[in-house]
């Protein structure tokens, strides 16, 4: 398992006030420099799992969970991120494991400041270093050409697709190990969607990607591995080809062929 960057082990998750767990004993690897897609009908727990992987759930108190989610660092050491408690540890985790949301979330500031925001939080103050890394990130997110002459303008004036690529640039700027995408194209038009998809597949040389999607074509086009979830359980996980062409579970086949969900 040397190519695994993150691994979820026997992970269960209960929302406050809920009787049943939203996730039941999930075990799932995240392969390095690959794209892992999570599919399943609404309410199956795929977003909950994704949001556990950088502890964004901790914004809202009262969740209970057990099991492990391990992050393998570049030096080979492994760390159970569910054990983190201090603010500084969370900040470190989120710099390693970034997240892109369903709706674009540009901050109400200039394009440059949006991308530089995470870098400044990470403590980078040197102006020329900031400039270099913002430029590299915007190039990495394939939006440099459109933005290089308007870096000082407000990011709120961009189109939805551009905003989403800006958010990706913002996350990429921190050089994370893993990027989590929570239905990143469901609020976008088809042209912006294909631009984002292309970008995600280019990103995988740099980062490992986990993507939650409702769009089965998107999962089959983009991903190397696919996890199918249903009612809080991981039904099947395999290479994307196998899941889509030759699933071993009846439930997976029914979902993929559109018999339910």
């Amino acid at each position: 398992m040397e190519n695994v960057v993150m691994e979820v082990k026997d992970f269960s998750f209960v929302y406050p006030g809920a009787e049943k767990p939203s996730l039941k004993k999930i075990t799932l690897p995240v392969e390095e420099n690959k794209i892992t897609a999570m599919i399943g009908p609404s309410g199956c727990g795929k977003s909950t799992l994704l949001r556990s992987m950088n502890r964004i759930h901790d914004l809202y108190p009262g969740n209970t969970y057990e099991g492990e989610i391990n992050l393998y660092h570049r030096d080979g050491t492994k760390e159970n991120i569910l054990k983190l408690k201090k603010e500084n540890d969370f900040i470190r985790l989120r710099q390693e494991v970034g997240m892109i949301f369903q709706k674009p979330t540009p901050f109400p500031m200039s394009i440059f400041d949006n991308v530089a925001y995470g870098l400044r939080l990470a403590g980078i103050k040197n102006k020329s270093e900031l400039q270099d890394r913002v430029e590299a990130a915007l190039k990495g997110a394939a939006i440099w050409k459109e933005t290089k002459d308007r870096l000082g303008e407000s990011a709120l004036g961009m189109s939805g697709g551009q905003q989403q690529r800006l958010c990706i640039a913002r996350a990429v700027a921190l050089k994370p190990r893993v990027l989590l995408f929570d239905e990143p194209t469901s609020a976008l038009d088809p042209i912006s969607t294909s631009a984002i998809e292309e970008l995600i597949s280019e990103l995988k040389s740099e980062v490992s990607v986990v993507i939650v999607t409702h769009n089965m074509q998107q999962a089959s086009r983009l991903s190397d591995y696919t996890a199918f979830m249903y009612l809080g359980e991981l039904i099947e996980y395999d290479k994307t080809e196998t899941i889509f062409l030759n699933p071993s579970e009846k439930l997976t086949e029914d979902y993929i062929t559109g018999r339910f969900g």
């Binding site: 914004l59 603010e87 969370f90 979330t105 925001y117």
Partner: protein, 269 residues
């Protein structure tokens, strides 16, 4: 036929009601403008009340309103941030929110009486500080409510996006969330300022009034609104004319602040 008749009757009645309402509004504005403009002379702005002008009153009214804002804006904003960002869902926050809403509809004269009891009576006389305190008490709940509501309009994803970039909660609130709600909060502050600049009751027996120019907040403090109240009851014509002039000027000031508030919203959206 009956249904059509009813429809017509209601249409006529509601139109009539609207016309009457707007009619009174215009009547007030026209009378005010006519009598006010007739009574204004350039000495109105250069002389103090003792010499038949309102210079000291304008300065006094604005001094108190601005100093009240200096207290109320940070306190109200911080309380609003607590309610929306930190205390969300907690019992304490629910209690504070309800109390603040009650305070917003508290009669201003009651606030005046309260401040009289704690800042006028024990100190032996009317003073400017008491007036500022009364105005600040009026203003705080309005600012709390605006801040709370405007922060509520900021999408949750924006906070999550900030946290996901490695920000701590307080940094994201101060650097991202407040910025996103800036226009709304600014408008709320302007409108609450417009509200307190025209208040009389909280000042009547806190700062009272002063005929002379002063910036000393430990003594009775000049006030435009309290002067209007006093002047209007005097029997002599010059006093009454000055009351008209002062009322007109006050109306224009409030109108300008309100229009400016709307202008800010329209241009920043």
């Amino acid at each position: 036929m009956n249904r059509l008749m009813l429809n017509k009757t209601i249409l006529i009645l509601s139109t009539l009601a609207a016309v009457i309402g707007v009619g009174f509004l215009f009547w007030i504005l026209i009378t005010l403008s006519y009598k006010g403009i007739m009574a204004i002379h350039w000495t109105t702005f250069t002389h103090d009340l003792v010499e038949g002008g309102i210079r000291n009153l304008l300065v006094g009214q604005f001094t108190m309103a601005i100093l009240a804002s200096v207290i109320a804006v940070p306190v109200g904003m911080m309380a609003g941030i607590y309610l929306r960002e930190y205390g969300h869902g907690s019992k304490l926050a629910a209690v504070i929110r309800n109390l603040s809403d009650v305070m917003m509809s508290a009669p201003s004269i009651v606030i005046g009486v309260f401040v009289f009891a704690i800042l006028v009576d024990p100190f032996g006389g009317y003073n400017g500080f008491a007036g500022i305190a009364a105005l600040a008490i009026m203003m705080i709940p309005i600012i709390i409510s605006t801040t709370d509501n405007m922060l509520g309009l900021v999408p949750q994803e924006l906070r999550e996006a900030g946290i996901a970039l490695g920000g701590s909660k307080h940094k994201i609130i101060l650097q991202v969330v407040i910025k996103a709600a800036k226009v709304g909060i600014m408008t709320g502050i302007l409108l609450s300022f417009a509200r307190i600049i025209g208040e009389t009751a909280p000042l009547l027996f806190t700062s009272a009034n002063n005929q002379f120019f002063t910036l000393n907040l430990t003594e009775q403090f000049p006030s435009l609104t309290v002067s209007i109240y006093n002047l209007a009851t005097y029997p002599d014509a010059p006093s009454r004319d000055l009351a008209w002039a002062a009322s007109f000027i006050l109306t224009v000031i409030v109108l300008i602040i309100n229009l400016f508030g709307r202008f800010v919203v329209r241009n920043k959206k």
